[in-house]
Amino acid sequence: MVEKKYTKEHEWVEVDGDTATVGITNHAQESLGDIVFIDLPTVGKEVKSNEELCVIESVKAASDIYAPIDGEVIEINNSLNNDASIVNQDPEKDGWIFKMKISDLSQYNNLMTLDEYLASLEN
């Protein structure tokens, strides 16, 4: 397992081998407010980084979730279909959203570290 990384779209990415697990940050869930529904991506979908992959609906608004890295969706967190508020309660662990098979680790290395992400929030 390598260090957790972050995107400017407020997603976190954790890589284990060629599998990346993706969710939204605590800051993101706080600003979204109560999450009521997540339109999860389709397993098997191949995407490029920064492509819209799924949508989080909160009481306030719909927000797109982007693929942080090129790859293929290999698993989705089905428990979010029954209770999307898990993302509010535990965004960076049980509230993970999807897993991808990735090939280009350099894209991952280019994402922000926690310190860089936190600094970006202050600007």
Binding site: G33, D34, V36, F37, E57, V59, K60
Partner: protein, 370 residues
């Protein structure tokens, strides 16, 4: 819009200290929710009592003389001369086409032995309404020095009656003047959540102390505009800028119940002949309540389509209903025969089937006949 151009309501600091998150709304920086979040605040109002600061709304007192009444009756579809004192009416400011410049609460109240017309109007329409009032009324005062606090929920009467004698405000839409700390409160039994509740106009300097007293009650919680919106959609109530605007008449918006029908025969009323004609003939626009069949969220401005995917309407308000635990919405379709067809909403390019549902989605809980 940058924060510098936004107005702050009088108790801004109080809300900040109590954990409010702010959003721009109608030119004001307004609390959207507090720490509990929109869904919990919503449920709290349906179960107990919520405190809303809606001081962004416009309030005006107009001396009830013959000239002012006659001028106002050009815009307002009520017989203002004959409406009884101490009773609120939901009504409109109409343009010459019968379109809605604003929806208002209007009443007659007696202040210092003088009869006044008291009107509460939308923040987003303050500028245009203040211009109209200035042009047509003499002897009026725009109440920028007063807050407007809404206390909403089934326990609102029991919570409020610890501080005020509510014996003159027994039924829905009653309004009266009560004393608090030697100052006049204008209190109506009203609100926009579908629950029993009160709207309280209070001088700025007394407002924080008043809210704090109610806030001490364990059944009360501060609530923001986020849940005010989902509560009013559940109750099927229209919002200016969503369901109603200058191009939509009260008849088209299913609000003809609020029109004094006799006034529609009066040429002095803006748009009277258009409204009368619309009432007598088939409506060209039909307001409906909708819910999606599958899990999807309805949002304002999404388009509605028939089974041939032809666009036949749009959503005016969409939200998540914390009571029904699904998305609900209101909108317009442009042909009554479409009610027989399947109906779809376009969500990010896909067509999702929706069904027509009854408005209100949640039964209203007003206090009547007590």
């Amino acid at each position: 819009m940058s924060d510098k151009t936004l107005n702050k309501i009088f108790l801004h600091e109080f809300h900040l200290e109590n954990g409010a998150k702010f959003v721009p709304f109608a030119g004001y920086e307004m609390p959207i929710n507090y720490k509990k979040g929109i869904i919990n605040e919503h449920l709290h109002v349906r179960e107990k009592v919520g405190i809303f600061d809606v001081s962004h709304m416009g309030q005006i007192l107009i001396t009830a003389n013959d000239k002012n009444i006659s001028s106002l009756e050009t815009y307002i579809p009520l017989n203002i001369k004959k409406i009884p004192s101490n009773k609120c009416h939901y009504s409109f400011i109409l343009n010459k086409k019968g379109g809605i410049i604003d929806d208002i609460m209007i009443s007659k109240i007696n202040i210092n032995n003088k009869e006044n017309i008291y009107i509460v109007y939308n923040a987003s329409r303050k500028k245009i309404l203040n211009e109209i009032f200035n042009n047509i009324c003499d002897n009026y005062s725009v109440l920028n020095n007063r807050c407007l606090i809404a206390i909403q929920g089934p326990s609102s009467h029991s919570v409020l009656s610890s501080y005020l004698d509510l014996s003159k405000i027994i039924n829905f839409l009653d309004i009266n003047i009560l004393q608090f700390e030697n100052t006049d409160l204008y209190i109506s039994r009203s609100g926009y959540t579908g629950e029993d509740g009160f709207e309280i106009s209070i001088p700025n300097e007394n407002a924080e102390n008043f809210i704090n007293q109610i806030f001490k009650n364990e059944n009360a919680c501060l609530c923001g505009l986020g849940c005010r919106d989902s509560l009013r959609v559940e109750a099927g109530l229209s919002l200016y800028g969503n369901e109603i605007n200058e191009d939509i008449t009260p008849v088209q918006a299913n609000l003809s119940w609020a029109l004094d029908k006799k006034r529609l025969e009066d040429d002095n009323l803006n748009g009277s002949s258009i409204l009368l004609q619309q009432l007598q003939h088939t409506k060209d626009s039909i307001k409906i309540g909708i819910t999606p069949i599958n899990k999807t969220m309805l949002r304002n401005n999404m388009t509605l389509h028939n089974s041939e995917k032809k666009e036949i309407g749009y959503i005016t308000s969409g939200c998540f209903s914390p009571i029904l635990k699904k998305s609900i919405g209101m909108g317009y379709i442009n042909d009554v025969t479409n009610r027989m067809d399947k109906l779809y909403v376009k969500v990010r390019g896909d067509f999702e089937e929706v069904i027509i549902d009854n408005i209100p989605f949640v039964k209203k809980n007003y206090k009547k006949g007590g």
